[in-house]
Symmetry: C4
Subunit: 275 residues, 4 copies
């Protein structure tokens, strides 16, 4: 993964997920608030979305694991090289492990939202553990690098552990939109920051190298990190506005009769499921 693509690709993925969440969570919140029960905003609808997210997560991480193993430079499931007496392609094994936890999280999502056997809060707990594992692997990944490289990855870890902590809180404070939006913003931050890392460490041909030892670069990147976060907030604000405008215009069109009763029973079921 020590190249431009290796940082930019997962960056794209995180950006996409963050973007999707910045649409989904406001939608969910506004629909619940407006007691709007069309197929879009209904509880069953959102459960189906959660299920789809779980399947997406599981499938995508499976592909990721396979790719890490069987790319041309990959370990092809070989862990130890007996000839050189060295571990074989540890980097790829590390990334495959990382995907493994997201895969487990996806599977838990699928089971938790398609059956009622598992406690619902388990999906958040498993996601939190997956993000924590990512941060954990990253933390021991960056040992002994040059100053700028270390600093860049350290800032990434702040976002990752922040997200893990935020999702852990969601286990206890489920469905609070403020926490969900915090998580979304940290996810977007992670994605855009991976792009930043890619550009700094592997500058595209033509542009100059960054001086790894210049303290000014470190300081600039710290400020830059904050701008990335402000950018994440901007994306979320724009999406929130659009979603809010759509939900409002939809309500005016659809009649909202005979919903009250339906909603109550749904909420009862929900609060029953929660713990």
């Amino acid at each position: 993964m020590g190249n431009f693509k290796g940082h930019a690709l997962p960056g794209c993925l995180f950006l996409l997920i963050g973007f999707w969440w910045s649409v989904k969570f406001p939608l969910k919140y506004l629909c619940r608030k407006k007691k709007h029960a069309s197929s879009l905003g209904s509880k069953t609808g959102f459960q189906r979305i959660e299920l789809a997210e779980g399947i997406f997560k599981a499938v995508f991480s499976l592909i990721g694991m396979t790719a890490e193993q069987f790319v041309s430079s990959g370990p092809h499931l070989k862990l130890y090289d007996y000839e050189t007496k060295q571990w074989h392609q540890l980097m790829n094994w590390q990334h495959a492990t990382l995907y493994l936890f997201y895969c487990i999280s996806g599977l838990v999502d699928i089971v938790a939202h398609s059956t009622n056997v598992l406690p619902v809060a388990l999906d958040k707990m498993m996601l939190s553990l997956a993000v924590f594992a990512e941060g954990f692997l990253l933390y021991y990944h960056i040992h002994g690098r040059s100053m700028l490289d270390f600093h860049l990855h350290q800032l990434l870890i702040v976002a990752v552990f922040g997200a893990a902590f935020c999702i852990f809180l969601e286990v206890f404070f489920r469905g609070i939109v403020v926490l969900e939006m915090l998580r979304t913003s940290l996810c977007i931050l992670q994605g855009s920051w991976l792009w930043q890392i890619a550009f700094v460490l592997y500058p595209p041909s033509g542009s100059p190298e960054w001086n790894q030892m210049d303290h000014n670069n470190t300081m600039f990147l710290t400020v830059c990190y904050c701008w990335h976060y402000a950018f994440a907030i901007l994306i979320m604000a724009v999406n929130y506005t659009i979603v809010s405008w759509i939900v409002r215009s939809k309500i005016k069109q659809t009649p909202t009769m005979e919903i009250g009763l339906l909603k109550t029973s749904e909420r009862d079921q929900e609060s029953e499921d929660e713990m």
Copy 2:
């Protein structure tokens, strides 16, 4: 900002805000407790105050951002100096970034308290993020300074992160006066400590320089930090007493009929808004 004024000015600002909060929060608490519904203590009144605070925050940080950019020694929106191959005036960019987050926090306050589109708890979340960003920038700001300078800023960071944590807790425990007072005290502490930093690092002409390497100075300033906090508590106690006395004397004057019903409906609305 490496001068006396650069520390004293924001110090004044934090002192003013802290002072204002040390009046506002006791007032809010005592009015709610006494179920006193004059224009001063009514819920709508406080919502208007929150709105005003948001506007103040947004406007003031916009001014701050502009000032940091366009003062005579500022970067004038120029980020990179191609001649010296150096980042241009990073300090000012850093401070402008700091103001940017407070500005966003102000805008969120305005939208959250003037419309009912946003979840109310978002104002606290955004303020917490702004304070956290301040602490974050400060943390990477103080790298490689002399011992006394480092220690002074480290103590400042304790107050800043403490405040960020406290406001984060307020997202979940909204409207608990004890947390609000803790936040207020940390805000005053931050303000008065900025003055202390100004006096120690840039002593006014005539007074002697501080020995940056003397461990005794470090120890004295630690004790001094505690005195600043005790001073913050004193200010709050005095203001609490005055506010409490005013509220009590006002209640004796105004009749408190027909309020019960009004209050109940207000509280219902409030608890509905909260999440």
Copy 3:
């Protein structure tokens, strides 16, 4: 304890406990959910189980303490060696202390679940303190070791403190199955990791020594740690599935009449006891 058996034996114990918990907690959760009141799933049944666990914990740690003192190489209650002017067998004293806290935790369990004198939440608090004490002793245990040894024990400490924190949360969020399962997974992780430590530091005769200074080994073991955790999750998933299948098949057999009333009164009593 500086040998293979000294790490493998407690490893077995933790694995056994983790395995047992991975059966017990799903069972408890599913029974409560299905309102299944056979002798297996009733509240009194589970209270008896808690009592049995307490007795097991107390007895086993007493045996452990005695063993640590009176094995042939043990201190035989002698703390200070006046001849060599040295503390006598500090390692064994340390382990005995570790068992002491688990013993206290067992005693508290017994009293809390057999009488109603103690607050129920005290069992979790004491267990949390025992696990914390384990982590605390471990933390000061690993000072000044070689890189690989240090890293291995550091990862162990992550699991131990994680479990202590998780149990501490259970004091406030009692009976939430998600937290109980997190605790279980960390317990299994600790057990299997102790086996890993045993194999790495004291390789069985025939297999080669690990290079203590190779950074690659450190990196491999970090990844390996994640695999251990994935393995713990696998065990829990298998057990959950089996338990869920048994509970479901049992419900089909037994009639579930006249339970409602009984349950309600039980729950009332429970919520009364809790605080």
Copy 4:
């Protein structure tokens, strides 16, 4: 305070307070549980006790502050020695500051429990801040000491910050006996550990000096710290048993008629006061 008495005296104080709490909190809990409304266990009775505690705290810390200033070797309110160009007796100023915060905490207790102007939870918040300030001063106090001295004080700080965190939690989870007992145990631990420090650093004449550089001593003291905590738990268990026995025997004697109504109104008032 760099002598035997300087550590043993506050040690006594903490031991006394811890002992008293280990009687008070079980008594409060058991009385509330048994709905026993004699003068001993009534809510007004306990409020009077809280008030007395506040007065005791305020008076005692005032005495402490005065003593630190005006003992023969004290600073006599002189902060800076212009002759030697040195801060004058910083140690005493530090301890006086420490007492100052306990004094403020005592004053807040008095006002919060004698009037109904202040929010009740403020007493815990202020106590938490006082304990935190103690840990904070201690933390910057131990800079640059020899290994054993540093280790001893570090362990003390663990107990102090643990207590501060525990009391902070009590702000939100008020009146939960498990937290109160945790706080009590940490208070006793702090007291007995201060005695340990006194004996190790200033051994009474006749006994040998401790080798400050021996790693074995450090390890022994870590184990010893755990024994101190086990001792604290023992004291609490004994006191809990005695209190529980007394409460039970008292209930048998006094009739418990017409209390129900009274209790309900009391509880209502309590829950109203709390926030």
